[in-house]
Symmetry: C2
Subunit: 238 residues, 2 copies
């Protein structure tokens, strides 16, 4: 809830209405008055109304109706982003949310959901992102190959993560310049990376598997890739 309000100040999300039980309005008086001052319609409602509005089993007594404000890709690229994640037709909301969380932790500047991805504002994505969806500019419904091309045209290096990549992450990190502005592309958990995206990217990178595991899950792979870039970029300009 606080995240929602804080993010509202940064134009990522606009809170439209706030429903609160009498108890909750009392417990969170400051939050409610901040919302009211910000022009949010505040309603007092009973527990049953709150329960019917919320997807969680034990709501906290506050439900906010928000509009998420998508960010256009051009606005993101104009801001000279150093690190981005591009989800390529990722369907699982838990995975998409976990990648958002990892991107948020790694200090990414934006996350782009391609056309064909799960809805970025699906409740499961929101919960799995643990605040990430509020912290980061999110571009949705981006045409995949066109997005890769526009990123490259803006001077961003596009690295696609794939188990069948030509170069492993550790070698890529040692041998190429990871301080450059970079967008990492993560593919669909079942089908992998669309071939036309692998083709359009600057390189296809695989996470080295040193043991017997067949693969890593998408969010873990994303964290390893994004942190590899963040590590190089932050060491360069701490």
């Amino acid at each position: 809830m606080r995240e929602g309000l804080a993010a509202a100040g940064e134009d990522r999300v606009r809170m439209v209405e706030l429903f609160a039980t009498v108890d909750a309005a009392d417990r969170h008086a400051e939050l409610v008055s901040t919302a009211a001052t910000a022009g949010v319609d505040v309603h007092v409602a009973d527990d049953r109304v709150l329960a019917s509005l919320s997807e969680t089993v034990t709501p906290q007594g506050l439900v906010a109706v928000c509009e998420f404000l998508d960010v256009p890709l051009d606005a993101v690229l104009t801001g000279q982003p150093r690190l981005m994640a591009l989800l390529a037709e990722v369907r699982d909301p838990g995975n998409a949310g976990s990648v958002l969380r990892a991107a948020d932790a790694a200090g990414a500047d934006a996350v782009v959901f391609s056309a064909g991805c799960v809805d970025a504002y699906n409740g499961k994505v929101v919960r799995a992102s643990v605040g990430g969806l509020f912290h980061l500019p999110v571009v949705t419904d981006a045409p995949l190959v066109d997005t890769v091309r526009r990123m490259k045209a803006a001077g961003v290096r596009v690295l696609a993560a794939d188990g069948a990549g030509d170069i492993d992450l550790d070698r890529a990190e040692r041998e190429s310049d990871f301080t450059k502005p970079t967008a990492w592309v993560f593919g669909n958990e079942a089908r992998g990376l669309p071939p036309e995206v692998a083709e359009a990217a600057d390189a296809v990178v695989r996470i080295p598997i040193y043991g017997k595991a067949e693969s890593l899950n998408l969010a873990t792979a994303a964290a390893l890739c994004l942190y590899a870039s963040a590590r190089a970029q932050r060491a360069d300009h701490p």
Copy 2:
């Protein structure tokens, strides 16, 4: 199933009985005969029996009854391990299994479950480990502080991962020798690291959070730590 048999050959797990439908026994004739030759009791059973034996909704027609064979800590330490994970009172089976999967991918030599952890052979741990439980020697019910001390006595550097750590992972990796044999300690998802473990460890390391996220999930944090060690160790002796 194949993983179970392969692991059986390495004394991680012993298959005791194998139940198969007629169809499945036919489809997997080689597997069934390998099991029989290895002294496993093979039974033909109908679908209902198989369904009652299995936790999955759509069993594959084969159910193996296995005994996992715990490995004593001394046996692991005698083998001069380079990389280990020690789970400190981790209760969530999904988290424990995901750490196993990450440890497997990072090429760890063993995973140690402390006393107070979820049962390593819980079905949810097995599934979340995606084979990791079969690939890696697993020590269970290890007394926590005593284990840390024995690891150190065996020349293993013990690094505890904690959001409140004194040094961040990137700096630790730059400034200290990550090629040394290392055990990473990962704490309980809710309570964090027990203070006596933080005290007994050589250092407490935090994952840097470059954005606004409050934390990473346990499996992601574990993957970042284990891969940092693996990267240094493998670059040193590829």
